[in-house]
């Protein structure tokens, strides 16, 4: 019996050591990682908004201008982005009928990572990859929303989107767009926005998720060109 117990004891010892090493490695990796945060108390300077009115898609000569105020961590904004916006983009923006302006409206209280996500997209914009990062952030919202280290996931998305990572890292570290994000929020507050998503169609405000059909009907009523099918 002793002859069979000794190998088992050795085996249990090996299992225990392997388990301890594995758990230790995971704990080390957990403690090593941390995400930066974007401050919410920011004084907006003129330089923050100079020449910037939002992230623009579409023609300058479009008859209808739609401003969207949204929050990257807001589930309703994600629903609009994933379900309705592809149709809006294809049928209203790319056809030249609508000029779309996206502005950040971070709802900090429930959404811990919203400003960091907005900052990540702003840094991607520095490299002309804003909309790629924008789409990736919304598409993976469920993955990073509850995470304790969303910054690393944003970085992974930036890498996948082909950004120069040293420039991205420097941009994220500098937090240089914190003021711009705050300015965007304040502009929304001044216009009366109090929830996300909210769209402003040629100056008129429509809170909540607007289905494509409703936006198209609005555009049809405002646009002088023949409506799209």
């Amino acid at each position: 019996m002793a002859g069979s117990t000794a190998p088992m004891n050795r085996f249990y010892a090996i299992i225990a050591i392997a388990a301890a090493v594995g758990i230790g490695a995971l704990l080390y990796l957990m403690n090593r990682s941390s995400s930066p945060t974007v401050p919410t108390q920011v004084t907006v300077t003129a330089a923050d908004t100079a020449g910037f009115q939002g992230y623009v898609l579409g023609s300058d000569s479009a008859a209808v201008e739609i401003i969207e105020y949204a929050d990257f961590q807001c589930p309703a904004c994600q629903a609009f982005e994933m379900v309705e916006f592809p149709y809006v983009k294809e049928r209203l923006i790319q056809t030249g009928r609508v000029r779309w302006i996206y502005r950040d409206f971070p709802l900090d209280e429930p959404h811990r990572w919203t400003r960091l996500a907005a900052h990540s997209a702003a840094c991607a914009n520095d490299q002309r990859k804003y909309w790629e990062q924008h789409e990736a952030l919304y598409r993976t919202q469920a993955d990073w929303s509850a995470s304790s280290n969303a910054g690393s996931m944003f970085r992974s998305m930036a890498e996948q989107n082909g950004l120069d990572m040293s420039a991205y890292d420097a941009c994220m570290k500098s937090l240089k767009f914190a003021g711009r994000i705050q300015a965007s929020l304040e502009s929304g507050v001044r216009m009366g926005v109090n929830s996300t998503p909210t769209v402003i169609v040629n100056g008129r405000m429509y809170p909540g998720v607007q289905p494509y059909d409703r936006l198209k009907a609005l555009v049809d009523s405002l646009s002088p060109v023949a409506p799209t099918p």
């Binding site: 069979s4 190998p7 088992m8 085996f11 090996i14 299992i15 392997a18 388990a19 594995g22 490695a25 995971l26 990796l29 957990m30 090593r32 990682s33 990736a136 993976t140 993955d143 990073w144 509850a146 995470s147 304790s148 280290n149 969303a150 690393s152 996931m153 970085r155 992974s156 998305m157 890498e159 996948q160």
Partner: protein, 142 residues
């Protein structure tokens, strides 16, 4: 007996690999140590979920079950029994098929290779082979 010990140790390694990938999805870790970046491409793809459940979590649960069966099969009362080893072979066989499906997705849908997923595939294939060999080595009841 040695094969069962090897199976248990391999499953323990599988537990830590799948836990690592799942913790990444939970945002508890920084970037994955992958080299090529393919791991993050795979882990952030829509195919990283199966029927709405994280594939890494499915792997973790699967390895924990296999580890439990392997450890149970090492107990003196079950050393001569065939069923724990047959169960190991059946479970790991199913896992091999599922892994094959995931490899197909990596190669032909996602177009990226996750080295940790490859390591897991090698582990589960080895567990399956060892379990089958162990099952065949056990004497049948007269």
């Amino acid at each position: 007996m040695t094969r069962r010990m090897a199976v248990a140790l391999l499953c323990l390694a599988g537990i830590f690999i799948s836990a690592y990938l799942w913790m990444f999805k939970l945002g508890l870790l920084g970037t994955l140590a992958c080299g090529t970046g393919g791991c993050e491409t795979v882990q952030l793809s829509p195919q990283s979920r199966f029927l709405g459940i994280e594939v890494a979590l499915i792997g973790l649960v699967g390895y924990v079950v296999l580890f439990g069966v392997a450890m149970a099969s090492l107990q003196p009362g079950l050393a001569a029994a065939r069923w724990p080893v047959q169960l190991l072979a059946a479970l790991s066989g199913g896992a091999v098929l599922f892994t094959g499906y995931l490899k197909f997705l990596e190669f032909f849908v996602i177009h990226a290779i996750c080295r940790w997923c490859v390591a897991s595939a090698v582990i589960i294939a080895t567990v399956f082979v060892l379990s089958v060999l162990e099952a065949r080595a056990l004497p049948r009841k007269a």
